[in-house]
């Protein structure tokens, strides 16, 4: 019993260490660095590929962030900023391809393939289960004393095909 109690305490201790998320502060007139970064986080500049714009250290990206600041100061919404950049620099600036034309493939192909896999697996399983032959019925259920059940299962697993 003692070690079970210990287990509780451990688990609780393990999960207690969770902070509460930070609070937002009201947006002042001029866009803050944080607001710019929030927009830039979802953008990529062609000069430093695969590094989000909010952390990319190149001069080109610095200018982009200045551009975002200017657009936001003019009262542009997040979406308008994205639209501006897509117009000027192409779709590649977005962290995710826009849902148009050929780009749909990126969103459609994985679910279709995965679904096909599930369907194939389902039929395969049904196929396998059909001839429920005299399957070896030597499972844990037949064990007598509850004390030994776990040990029995363990030994049985070790013995199975070894």
């Amino acid at each position: 019993m003692k070690s079970r109690l210990f287990l509780f305490v451990l688990l609780i201790a393990l999960l207690l260490a969770v902070p509460v998320s930070a609070q937002d502060n009201p947006p002042p007139d001029a866009p803050t660095d944080d607001e710019i970064n929030a927009v830039a986080k979802n953008m990529y500049c062609p000069v430093c590929e695969n590094v989000p714009l909010d952390v990319c250290p190149t001069l080109a990206c610095e200018q982009w962030r200045a551009q975002i600041r200017e657009l936001l100061a003019e009262g542009a919404t997040e979406q308008e900023v994205y639209d501006y950049f897509v117009l000027h620099y192409g779709d590649r600036v977005l962290a995710e391809p826009p849902r148009t034309g050929l780009n749909w493939l990126i969103y459609i192909v994985p679910p279709v393939v995965i679904l096909a896999g599930i369907v194939a697996l389902y039929f395969a399983l049904r196929n396998w289960r059909k001839p429920v032959a005299a399957a070896p019925q030597s499972q844990a259920e037949k064990s007598g004393e509850p004390e030994d059940e776990y040990m029995a299962r363990l030994e049985e697993e070790l013995a199975k095909r070894n």
Binding site: L11, L15, P19, V55, E62, R65, L94, A95, I106
Partner: protein
């Protein structure tokens, strides 16, 4: 001299590999054992030969012999000794040699095992391993030769060639270009070697699988032989990935460890199939099912290793990892086509012999859960593969648009980016599904298991797992985070419950004390409890990942000296800035800041910005305060003017992130428990098993 020696050793290794492949095939087809033995010796020889080659490069790097083009491109006089050595894998040419050297090490190690009981595999294992090695040697010798030297002709022209062209003199640059600053980090010493080790060690199970397919010895012998190899391969690959994350966290300065960068994913894909393989081979061992699937998985893992190397080496991708543009892409492609089609053709040929021996009797059986686990891993693989490949397809589709103007509106050839958002959204639920399976599967039984029997074992740990979930709910956590934490506690509860039950049973039936019982329990079935330990490691890592993914907060601000920036409970004060040049060719701007929490002084941090004069690159090195609870991670933002008057800081609060690193240590422990060679008892058991099996396996 050294360069000629190293180059000579490379060429000889290549010839030896070709000889080994030929001798093995000749020996096995003509039934001449001495030829097979000879091929085995050839494979053994590759390791010392490539050691000579790798050592020559290392010595050249240490001596800074800048006449050698590779040395000049990755080292410079200002680099310390350890970096000059690790520059062996800092550039394309050297790292290919390093790859081949590790591959040869594994190939040689395999030849040294005891082949008595599976001699028929030997020639084919030699063929597969040496062909792979020979392929890499072709790349090195003909395309990416690290021993190419610089020569100056009488007209002043600089020529690169291995041997001195007529009428030229050696040309020795005054200094080298130096290693990419990004790679000048202690993490770089260990991350690539581990990743490469993981890559090359997957060649071994693949070689045995192919040997099994060719010889027709398609029982699970090949799986038993390679079980430990696979586990070590998996461990190396896992650690390579984790250390890569650590390196990114410490060096790349974006407050994270994993950016879903195409090259990261290229290394991650073989890990996915490898992990699926580790689980599904157990079904074959215990139940004799899924033989096709296991073959397919190992073939896929091998080709994903090659594909990953192709992606990083051929210049197909541009990312922080990719090596410079290179001509070896088409060769990689040919190699992938050959290995994939030959292996799959062999698999189809043996299709009938690989039929399962039993059926799945229940959706609640262990094998069914393993099957679902495999399904999820494959789903994640599909997402990752398509995410990496689609931007290239999209760009290449412009060629169709150019050829057929009518279609140019659809096939625009636009470059696109597939960023973390895509992968996180698509794979998030799948990871949750894996956690559920990780929790339930250990309680299910092989063969038959019903919802009822499973439920009987499940209810107690499930209830226990809700307790911490309720506690954190009252702490204000809700939504996806709450679900994720509950899943974590669910898996933890069940795994610990399994240990607890086993220990309890031993204490009751054998009268051992708790520690002895625990020791004996784990010793009795190391694979099982090693596996559970790995699960616990993964769960701890999951805590770290949930922490940073869901609870990360950040802010950025420009402050004068004495100015303060607040983030949550934390407050930083900008105290001073030191700006100086170092003897190894850097300009360093190093800030001193004080960190307070709830008004209480915690520590001083020194985020800095290093500018490398040689390569004109900057590095932002964070100042980090780590604790078990969180990381407080401060960057001196380089792209705003830095002065002693004011500076810009970007601050991240990364809760629980250290659990990720801690979990990976547990993962190592677990793998050691599961994979450490067993002593006599196992051998005895195996012998007994063979005696019984002998008449049956004579098919």
């Amino acid at each position: 001299m050294l360069a000629s020696l190293g180059y000579g050793a490379l060429v000889i290794t290549f010839l030896v590999s070709l000889y080994g492949v030929g001798a093995a095939i000749y020996g096995v087809t003509q039934n001449k054992a001495s030829w097979v033995d000879s091929s085995r010796n050839a494979m053994l020889l590759t390791f010392p030969l490539l050691t000579i080659s790798a050592l020559s490069i290392t010595l050249l790097l240490i001596q800074m012999d800048f006449q050698v083009e590779y040395v000049a491109s990755v080292t410079s006089r200002s680099m310390p000794m350890y970096l000059r050595i690790t520059a062996l894998w800092g550039g394309q040419e050297g790292s290919l040699v390093f790859w081949a050297w590790l591959m040869a090490a594994f190939a040689s190690a395999v030849t040294l095992r005891d082949w008595k009981r599976d001699r028929e595999f030997l020639p084919w294992v030699v063929v597969v391993s040496l062909s792979t090695l020979a392929f890499f040697l072709i790349l090195i010798i003909f395309f990416e030769n690290p021993f190419v030297r610089l020569w100056q002709s009488s007209s002043g022209e600089i020529i690169s060639a291995v041997w001195q062209p007529a009428g030229t003199l050696p040309f020795i640059p005054a200094d080298g270009r130096g290693l990419n600053p990004l790679l000048r980090h202690p993490g770089m010493i260990i991350h690539p070697p581990l990743l490469y080790l993981g890559f090359v060690s997957f060649v071994v199970p693949f070689a045995f699988a192919i040997a099994a397919l060719i010889t027709g010895r398609t029982d699970d012998r090949w799986i038993r032989v390679t079980r430990r190899w696979t586990l070590w391969a998996w461990l190396f690959l896992s650690l390579g990935l984790v250390l890569g994350g650590r390196w990114a966290y410490d060096v790349l300065g974006w407050g994270g460890y994993w950016g879903w960068d195409p090259v990261e994913i290229a290394a991650f894909m073989p890990w996915l199939t490898g992990t699926a393989f580790l689980h599904s081979v157990m079904i074959q061992e215990k139940r004799g099912m899924f033989k096709h699937w296991n073959m397919f998985l190992i073939i896929l893992t091998y080709d994903l290793v090659i594909f990953g190397t192709f992606l990083t080496r051929s210049g197909v991708l541009s990312s922080v990892h990719s090596f410079a543009q290179s001509a070896i892409g088409p060769l990689f492609f040919v190699f992938i086509v050959l290995t994939l089609t030959i292996s799959l053709w062999l698999l189809v040929r043996r299709w009938a012999e690989l039929r399962g021996e039993e059926q799945i009797n229940s959706f609640f059986s262990r094998e069914a859960f393993f099957l679902f686990n495999n399904l999820i891993f494959m789903a994640i693989l599909v997402i990752c593969f398509w995410g990496v490949v689609f931007p290239l397809v999209s760009e290449a589709s412009g060629l169709i648009g150019q050829a057929i103007p009518a279609l140019s509106n659809v096939f625009t050839g636009q470059k696109i980016t597939v960023g973390p958002i895509f992968y996180e959204r698509a794979t998030g639920p799948l990871w949750a599904g894996l956690l559920v399976l990780m929790g339930i599967a250990p309680l299910s039984a092989w063969g038959a298991s019903t919802a009822k029997t499973l439920g009987r074992k499940l209810w107690l740990p499930t209830i226990i797992s809700f307790i911490p979930a309720v506690v954190i709910f009252f702490l204000g956590v809700s939504g996806a985070a709450l679900l994720a934490f509950w899943l974590v506690s669910f898996v933890t509860a069940i795994t610990l419950y399994e240990f607890w039950q086993g220990v309890g049973a031993r204490v009751r039936t054998k009268g051992e004390n708790v520690f002895a019982a625990f020791w004996a329990l784990v010793g009795r079935d190391r694979r099982r409890y090693g596996g559970y330990t790995i699960h616990l490691g993964i769960v701890l890592m999951a805590v770290g990942i949930i922490g940073i993914e869901i609870f990360q907060t950040e802010t950025q601000g420009t402050v004068p000296i004495g100015g303060e920036i607040a983030l949550g409970d934390y407050l930083v004060r900008y105290d001073s800035l030191a700006d100086f040049n170092t003897p190894d060719g850097r300009n360093v701007a190093r800030a001193s800041i004080s960190v307070f929490r709830d008004g209480e002084y915690l520590t001083e941090l020194n985020p800095r910005r290093d500018y490398y004069f040689e390569s004109q690159q900057t590095m932002t090195i964070p100042g980090v305060r780590s604790s078990i609870e969180d990381d407080f991670y401060v960057l001196l933002v380089d792209w705003q003017p830095i002065s002693t008057q004011s500076a810009t800081f970007k601050i991240y609060h990364n809760p629980l992130v250290n659990w990720l690193w801690f979990g990976s240590v547990i993962l190592i422990v677990g793998t050691f428990v599961a994979a450490w060679p067993e002593k006599d008892r196992a051998a005895i058991r195996e012998n007994k098993h063979l005696r019984v099996q002998a008449p049956a396996s004579a098919d």
